[in-house]
């Protein structure tokens, strides 16, 4: 009935060239001079015009920047509110990332950990955004966001515990691969290897925050993902839900140019990830992800909008993945070494920010030496400690599958393994050797 009526109305409006302001309840005769469509406020035009850009002039979406490549403030750019203490903390947090990354990358190469992913080149995106957030905002990361956790105080020991999967690993008790961090304490949801699954989850997290009287208007959900992950259906589902069922969800796309070997140019044909924001009615900004002050400003403002409007906001940070995708990848198989070398130099996020700090008199070379020495010592200390701690107790293998009462099958299977270990644990060399790696050497099973 209603449908037929609307169709009639549409025909009528077209014929008369007039429209009403609303047809939702009590339809009125069209009064607008251009007509009115049943489900849209779209103005009517008599010009046949196709479009393929979210910018009125058909150009690419611009990138917001505060510092030039040399660390100088751009003409007309407004510096974010930042004092010396915050500025220095941000720098120190940025500098520590490549130190940890270099160590753990090499440690993987020596076979001491099974896997690692560096964040080389993305230090400004990670630390600039972490600094802009409230530490109790809920973060749903992809896998390259260790910097955000460290900003919140996770600590080197916790990083090492997770990467070595030792008994101090609170992220997953040794169950996940390295860099799959998670911390309830630091509001950092557990990393999952499947790409983009965290994105619609963030919309749910945002909605939960909105419903919580203690957190409404104070916190938001923050979801990080790469430009590759944004190709997954889950990206679109997440953007759609966060906008249609409004929630304070802050989407941060780390556009680092590569999804393993696939360049961004093969990942999308449109204007990056930012172009998709308006498609979902989401406030959007593109920012130079190698400019930590621009990231700080953009994410602060994005967060403010999230909280104030209770709606989703999208930030696309343009950066470059200087490192290989992971320790399982050799990126020189698909990109020229020179391109990477150039990118390390041009707009290097750390060097650029350092120049800015120096120009303010907030940093100098002797502090640089001191800082790097200190971080290296602390990281090495945590590494030595983490390396030498055993894995969690073997019985943990069966823990955390279910909450509440454990089902019979798991109980029985634990008993089955117990019987096997009792029988063969002392005789079978591969098991004997393996058991030594666990805290208690499996004695909770054997005795």
């Amino acid at each position: 009935m209603f449908r037929i009526f609307r169709t009639n109305l549409q025909v009528q409006t077209l014929r008369r060239g007039v429209a009403t302001s609303s047809i939702q309840t009590n339809p009125q005769l069209p009064s607008h001079s251009y007509g009115h469509l049943p489900t849209s406020q779209s103005p009517i035009t008599s010009t046949l015009h196709f479009f393929n850009s979210v910018m009125p002039d058909g150009k690419q979406i611009p990138t917001y920047r505060v510092l030039n490549g040399d660390g100088q403030v751009l003409d007309g750019a407004e510096l974010p509110e930042i004092d010396e203490a915050l500025a220095r903390k941000m720098y120190e947090q940025m500098v520590q990332l490549p130190i940890i990354d270099n160590l753990l990358y090499n440690v993987q190469r020596q076979g001491k950990i099974s896997f690692y992913m560096t964040a080389h080149g993305e230090e400004a995106t990670l630390i600039g955004s972490a600094a802009a957030l409230n530490n109790s905002d809920e973060v749903l990361g992809q896998y390259r966001e260790m910097g955000v956790l460290l900003w919140r105080g996770f600590g080197y020991d916790s990083v090492m515990a997770q990467c070595f999967g030792n008994y101090e690993d609170t992220s997953s008790k040794g169950k996940q691969m390295p860099v799959h961090f998670g911390s309830r304490k630091y509001h950092f949801h557990p990393i999952s290897s499947p790409l983009a699954t965290q994105i619609p989850q963030a919309a749910g997290v945002g909605y939960a925050i909105k419903r919580d009287p203690l957190r409404r208007g104070k916190n938001c959900a923050v979801v990080y993902f790469g430009e590759g992950a944004a190709s997954e259906g889950d990206f679109h589902a997440g953007m759609l839900l966060a906008s249609t069922v409004p929630s304070p969800t802050l989407f941060i796309a780390r556009n680092n140019g590569f999804a393993i070997s696939t360049p961004a140019s093969e990942q999308y044909h449109g204007d990056g990830i930012a172009a998709r924001g308006p498609g979902y009615g989401i406030d959007t900004v593109r920012v130079d992800g190698n400019d930590v002050l621009a990231v700080l400003s953009a994410v602060r403002e994005a967060r403010r909008r999230c909280l104030e409007q209770g709606r989703a906001v999208l930030v696309e940070a343009m950066t470059y993945r200087v490192g290989h995708h992971s320790t399982s990848d050799d990126s020189f198989a698909y990109r020229p070494r020179q391109e990477v070398e150039d990118r390390k130099r041009i707009d290097n996020p750390i060097a650029r920010y350092k120049k800015f700090l120096e120009s303010r008199g907030w940093w100098n070379e002797s502090e640089e030496e001191e800082l790097k020495d200190r971080i290296k010592k602390e990281v090495m200390k945590a590494f030595r400690r983490g390396e030498n701690l055993r894995r969690p107790e073997l019985k943990e293998m069966f823990s955390d599958v279910y909450g509440g009462e454990e089902p019979w099958n798991l109980k029985e299977q634990r008993e089955e393994l117990k019987a096997l270990l009792k029988k063969y644990g002392g005789d079978w060399e591969p098991w004997k050797k393996e058991l030594k790696k666990f805290k208690g050497e499996g004695k909770e099973f054997i005795e």
């Binding site: 999967g165 169950k175 190709s231 696939t262 894995r391 393994l417 005789d427 079978w428 591969p430």
Partner: protein, 429 residues
Amino acid sequence: MFNPHKLARLSPSRLSSLNGQCIRRLQSTVPSSGEAEPPPAGGHLPSIATSAFLRPTRDSALRLPGLRWIDNEIPGSISSSKEGAGDIAGRETRKMNMYQAVRDAMSIALMKDDTAVIFGEDVAFGGVFRCTMGLAEEFGRERVFNTPLTEQGIAGFGIGLASMGQTAIAEIQFADYIFPAFDQIVNEAAKHRFRSGGQFGVGSLTIRCPTMSVGHGGLYHSQSPEGFFMGAAGLKVVIPRSPIQAKGLLLASIRDPNPVIFMEPKILYRSSVEQVPIDDYELPLGKAETLIKGSDLTVLTWGTPIYHCESAIHMLSSPPSSLAHHIPASLRSAKIELIDLRTILPWDVETITESVKRTGRLVIVHEASRTAGVGAEISAEIQKRCFLKLNAPVRRVTGWDTPVPMQYEKFYIPDSLRILDAIVDTLQY
């Protein structure tokens, strides 16, 4: 260059004549050893190198049971095939590991079938497991291309291509990541023929994906999801154990009139090496292969665990001294039959039933967890068919009913000792 009009103009008869076209392969498809390669994310399995199931010589490779040559010397002639390995004169083999054999199969598919395309995440530079190495260069980026990261998109795109009668060879980067495509595979690919009354079909779709554990993959790089597809009637699921098997089964999968999920055990990509026939050949789908003949107990498995089963059977007859006291002397001469299921769906109920009726005992080994795993379906069917012949309950040796836990994987994935224990137990029942 790619000409979309050219394909659009191809009539069904023209397509079939293209399918029948044969070009004998002479040039090498194996990458030169000097080429830089990423580290073996697939890991290595040391015991495989010595497996008796791998065929290290030309002669043994060419005499593979069930091998069917797909020969057609004259372009445009109807494809002819020769059953069996009777005629091996003039046949060549080349040493290949499993990723090279997979690549070789796809190269043949592309060469003989102008409609065939290969696509997936990172396939253009060779794929993260190197299975498509050099194919984009050889056949062009129009036929071998990267997709954005969208597994549901990859599967749906492949269904579209296949529904138009063209050959779609899709890669999902890890079997662990196939779940976004589950709807497209289970609701669309599997049901396409059925829901169109046989008018449409997507039989020319093959979805390849690396599967099973390497020992340190944890929740999302060690899974064996074949069981999730077990109930998807209309679909076939195939898992090869070695390079020769991979090539023959993949070519059969690509040409099978049904959509096939082809799961490649990733630890075998580099660690299994055989002399592989360079000509076009197929191995039958839906047919298990008996690797060791026996009379006292049947061990049934597929993929990586085949090699653990081989070790277990060896340990039964000649246990290492540390284990000797666990293996009663009376059992050491037991004759164990080992079967590689190869096709998980539809599975070869005839071969398994015949075997279990003879041996009276069945041990099923798979890496996936036990509850509702493939072993559950097979157990139910075999107990029904062989009830009066069984001397012991069907035994399953599987991963536990937990997600795959990384640091604990050596006690999670069934190893040769757990298999041995199940064999001993079942023999003594």
